[in-house]
C-alpha cells in the first residue's frame, strides 16, 4: 500500500469519527458528555492538522481547543449547576 492511500484512510476515519462526536456533542442530554465529545473533536482536528503538515496550528488546537477550553467549560458548568440548585 502506498503512502498516499494510508494517509487518505487515516484522514477519512478521523473525519468520520469527529463528525459522529460532533453530533453527540450537540444531541447528548448530559452536558458533561457533550463537553468531552467537543474536546475529542478538537483533539482529532489537531491530528488532522498534523497530517496536513501544519504543526503550528496543530499545537495551538491541541493546547487550547482540547485542553484549556474543555477545562474552562467544566468550570463554567460547575458554576451554573451550583447557582441553579
Amino acid at each position: 500500500m502506498n503512502k498516499e492511500i494510508v494517509f487518505i484512510i487515516i484522514a477519512l476515519i478521523l473525519g468520520i469519527v469527529s463528525l459522529i462526536l460532533a453530533l453527540i456533542a450537540i444531541h447528548n442530554k448530559k452536558l458533561s458528555v457533550a463537553i468531552l465529545a467537543a474536546g475529542v473533536v478538537s483533539l482529532f482536528a489537531s491530528v488532522l492538522y498534523l497530517l496536513m503538515a501544519a504543526p503550528d496550528v496543530a499545537m495551538t488546537e491541541a493546547a487550547i481547543g482540547s485542553g484549556l477550553s474543555t477545562l474552562i467549560f467544566f468550570y463554567v458548568l460547575n458554576k451554573i449547576k451550583k447557582s441553579n440548585a
Binding site: 504543526p55 503550528d56 499545537m59 493546547a63 484549556l68 460547575n78
Partner: protein, 233 residues
C-alpha cells in the same frame, strides 16, 4: 411551517454556494504571488528557519499585535465578570479528596511542561510553534497544578506584572524597529546572526518570548479566577 421553510431555504442557498466553491476548486500546482515571495525571500530577509514565524512576527507583525490585544481584552472581560471579593480571594474550599496519582504525576510533570513551553517559545523561529503555543502549554501546566492542589495560591501581582511588562516590552521592541530598521516591528534591529542558530533572526526570539510570557500569564489568570470563584460544595 414557515419557519421550517425558511430554514430549508437558507440551507439550500448555502449548499448551492458550497457546491459552486467545490466545483470551481482546482489544486494549485504553483504557489500564489505572495506565498512565492515569502518562500523565496523570507529566509534571506528575516533570517528565521521557520517561515511561518517570520510571517507571523515580522511580515504580519501588526496582526499579531492585534491578536495579543484581543486576548488581553478577553482576559480583562472575564476578570471583570468574575469579580472576586477579598474573602473569595483567600478562602479555602473543602474539595473532595484529590487522587494520589494526580498529585504525584503533577509534581513530576509540571516542571517538564513549563520547560517545554519555554522551549517552544524561545525556539519559535527554528521549530514549529511560538509565543501563543508556548504560552498555552505553560497555562496547561498551571491547570494541572490547580487540579492537583485546588487551594493553591497563585500570586496575582506576579501574574499582572509579568503580563503588563511583556505587553509593553513587545511594543517597545516594535518601536526600536522604527529607529534602527525599516519600520514598526521590523526584526533587523541587530545583525541577523547565523541562519538556523538560537541567536538569529534579530528581534523574533525576543518578541516571541514576550508574547509567550504574556499569553501564559493571561490564560493562567483566567484559570485562577475560575478556580477561585467556585462556590462551596
Amino acid at each position: 411551517m414557515l419557519k421550517n421553510t425558511l430554514i430549508a431555504l437558507v440551507i439550500a442557498v448555502l449548499a448551492y454556494m458550497f457546491y459552486n466553491v467545490y466545483n470551481t476548486y482546482e489544486t494549485r500546482t504553483s504557489l500564489s504571488g505572495v506565498a512565492e515571495y515569502y518562500a523565496t525571500n523570507a529566509a534571506k530577509e528575516v533570517g528565521a528557519a521557520n517561515i511561518v514565524t517570520s510571517i507571523v512576527v515580522t511580515y504580519r507583525g501588526f496582526d499579531t499585535l492585534g491578536e495579543v490585544t484581543i486576548l488581553f481584552l478577553t482576559a480583562s472581560i472575564i476578570s471583570f465578570f468574575l469579580k472576586l471579593k477579598e474573602e473569595d480571594e483567600n478562602k479555602s474550599i473543602k474539595h473532595g479528596i484529590t487522587s494520589e496519582l494526580l498529585i504525584t504525576a503533577s509534581q513530576v510533570l509540571v516542571p517538564i511542561i513549563f520547560l517545554f513551553g519555554i522551549y517552544v517559545f524561545i525556539n519559535g523561529h527554528l521549530t514549529p510553534g511560538g509565543g501563543f503555543q508556548g504560552g498555552a502549554i505553560i497555562a496547561t501546566g498551571v491547570a494541572l497544578m490547580i487540579m492537583a492542589n485546588p487551594n493553591i495560591r497563585i500570586n496575582n501581582h506576579v501574574i499582572h506584572w509579568v503580563e503588563s511588562i511583556s505587553g509593553v516590552a513587545f511594543v517597545i521592541v516594535g518601536l526600536f524597529g522604527i529607529v534602527l530598521a525599516g519600520g514598526f516591528l521590523d526584526n533587523r534591529i541587530s545583525g541577523l546572526g547565523e541562519f538556523g542558530t538560537l541567536f538569529s533572526a534579530g528581534a523574533i526570539p525576543i518578541i516571541y518570548s514576550f508574547i509567550g510570557l504574556k499569553v501564559g500569564a493571561e490564560i493562567s489568570n483566567i484559570l485562577n479566577k475560575y478556580q477561585k470563584s467556585q462556590k462551596e460544595l
